[in-house]
């Protein structure tokens, strides 16, 4: 604009140009992204084609790590275990979140209290403290069996001793942390115009019909968003398996990320660890893409 009377800009004026200032402001992110994300990712891809422990120089072995993975029964097992965990815990958690959100959408004097109580577990749930607590609760002589005994149910289940029950214990912990999804659903529910429900009432629709014809379709963007978030974090779950079950019994609860950690930092197979990390990232990435592709089949966006 003032080009003609400022042929030469001072250093200060240059710094104050939008194009320059923008870069300066965003620089911390650019540096951090390159140093701690982009370059490490590229390195990790490179290492995944090598045999590498921290002491020796990496030796290029082509696709061997990737081929070895599928011949490693422990790898196949941890992959399936993690998928099983995700398949049960993610939908159950979302279902729970949606049901409680529907319950709490009604505003009463106790709404704030209810919301706080249902939300709390998701804030503390991934901590070691809760993992330790969970382990103790589900021990054979723990409080869960004690309470079951009090109401006359079988009280001698070795929760952490059986393959199915140990997995169940971890899934219960995951479902227990539905709070943040619930808040997102609650925000979504509050945006649905009341007029839609009123119109439906006039037309003689009952509650069930209103739910399936109004609530559910209008919530699909929120469900979609929650689903993707929860899938990613589900596949990356670590603390639960590492602290509560240590993968036991017989590696039936050994999560992928725990095995990845063990390979890299216990057995020192860094090349193999990188290959595992890339395999999981690509798998989750493709899964996310697949869900994105299906979204026009079931996600309803208001035009």
């Amino acid at each position: 604009m003032k080009k003609q009377n400022t042929p030469k800009k001072t250093f200060g004026q240059r710094l104050n140009q939008e194009g320059v200032a923008g870069y300066i402001l965003v620089l911390p992110f650019i540096f951090g992204f390159l140093a701690f994300t982009a370059i490490p990712m590229a390195m990790s891809l490179g290492f995944s084609f090598t045999e590498y422990n921290i002491l020796e120089t990496p030796e290029f072995i082509g696709f061997e790590n990737y081929i070895d993975m599928f011949q490693d029964p422990k790898f196949v097992n941890t992959f399936l275990v993690t998928i099983r965990y995700v398949i049960f815990s993610v939908p159950l958690r979302l279902l729970m979140a949606l049901m409680i959100a529907m319950l709490l959408v009604k505003s009463t004097k106790l709404s704030g209290f209810y919301r706080a109580v249902f939300y709390l577990p998701s804030i503390i749930g991934s901590s070691v403290a809760v993992a330790v607590l969970w382990k103790k609760m589900f021990e054979s002589n723990g409080v869960i069996n004690g309470l079951l005994g009090l109401v006359g149910l079988p009280d001698d289940t070795a929760w952490l001793g059986g393959e199915k029950t140990a997995m169940f214990t971890l899934i219960v912990l995951a479902v227990w942390q539905f709070g943040s999804s619930m808040l997102i659903f609650l925000a979504g529910l509050k945006q649905i115009p009341v007029s839609l429900y009123e119109a439906a009432t006039v037309d003689g629709a009952n509650g069930v019909k209103k739910f399936f014809k109004i609530t559910l379709p209008l919530l699909t963007p929120t469900i979609f968003f929650n689903l993707i978030n929860q899938l990613i974090s589900g596949f990356m779950a670590f603390t639960q398996s590492y602290v509560i079950t240590q993968g036991k019994p017989r590696e039936s609860t050994l999560f992928y990320s725990v095995y990845l950690y063990q390979n890299s930092f216990t057995y020192g197979k860094l090349g193999y660890g990188c290959a595992m990390a890339w395999f999981m990232t690509i798998f989750v990435g493709l899964l996310t893409l697949l869900i994105f592709k299906t979204q026009n089949k079931w996600v309803y966006y208001e035009s």
């Binding site: 939008e18 490490p40 990712m41 939300y119």
Partner: protein, 283 residues
């Protein structure tokens, strides 16, 4: 009319009984742990189904505080506060600056870097875990707090995103007016934007602190000396059968470790709820 009113009271009562019982079930594990921490240690299992301790005692807190291997929990708490505190300061400040750049300035390649930021929100830590370890190992940082703290100073994608949303809600007129008064782009940030985005700064700080406080995997990888362990790692070691299994003491320390989170939760719930509702962050 009367029957309608009665019906409403019945429905309300049923609603509250149902929701209240459900809430109790949800909160029971936490209450049970806190109550158990005040029981005599041999009673934790013996009277597991009783919520109220027979004999109320603080002894578990005294024994637990002594920690293990000669290192008290005082040290572990100090470590956690340093890691979470310094990391949070770094994350909040850098994210605010970066968000301002994204929200208010047009520069070449903005779209590209913005996509990189969105991408890094979705990326799992595992994919960069090993090369990051190698990097920090070469820098000689393994065994110190630096790998846990330094990356936070380059902006956290979630916090940048949250701040961008907030800054975009501030009318551009304010920027324009300041500009006419001779304020530079940086001056506008310090004088106009920063004071106005306090809510999103607070929300970022809360989440950053809680995530850093709970973080376990990174300390497992980078910290080698028990003197540098944060509470989360120490608690894992403390509860391992090799360090003894004084469950009263373990629950006492677990309760203490959750205390900062409880405190934030009770005082800052408004910010937490808004943060989650507006960005969909996980809690």
């Amino acid at each position: 009319m009367k029957s309608y009113k009665t019906k409403k009271i019945v429905v309300n009562t049923v609603y509250h009984i149902f929701t209240f019982v459900l809430a109790l079930v949800m909160i029971y594990p936490v209450v049970w742990m806190v109550m158990s921490s005040f029981k005599e240690t041999e009673d934790v299992i013996r009277t597991a189904t009783d919520l109220i301790p027979d004999h109320f005692t603080l002894e578990n807190y005294v024994t637990g505080w002594k920690g293990f291997a000669g290192i008290g929990f005082g040290t572990f708490f100090k470590n956690s506060f340093i890691i979470a505190g310094v990391g949070t300061i770094g994350a909040v400040l850098s994210s605010a600056v970066v968000a301002y750049g994204f929200a208010r300035c047009n520069f070449k390649g903005k779209g590209f870097w913005f996509s990189c930021m969105l991408l890094s929100m979705m990326l799992p830590f595992q994919i960069i875990m090993i090369p990051q370890y190698i990097l920090f190992n070469n820098l000689g940082w393994v065994g110190t707090f630096l790998p846990l703290i330094v990356p936070a100073f380059f902006g956290g994608a979630f916090f940048i995103f949250l701040n961008i949303q907030f800054i975009k809600g501030i009318p551009m007129d304010l920027d324009e007016a300041a500009k006419i008064d001779g304020c530079s782009i940086y001056g506008i940030f310090v004088r106009i934007i920063l004071p106005l985005i306090k809510p999103s700064l607070v929300t970022s700080a809360i989440f950053s602190f809680m995530w850093k406080w709970d973080d376990f995997l990174a300390s497992l990888i980078y910290l080698t000396n028990p003197l540098t362990y944060p509470v989360s790692y120490a608690l894992k070691m403390f509860s391992d059968p090799s360090s003894g299994s004084d469950w009263g003491a373990i629950f006492a320390m677990a309760t203490l470790s959750l205390l900062p989170i409880f405190f934030i939760f009770l005082t800052m719930q408004k910010y937490l709820v808004e943060g989650i509702a507006s960005t969909g962050m996980k809690g």
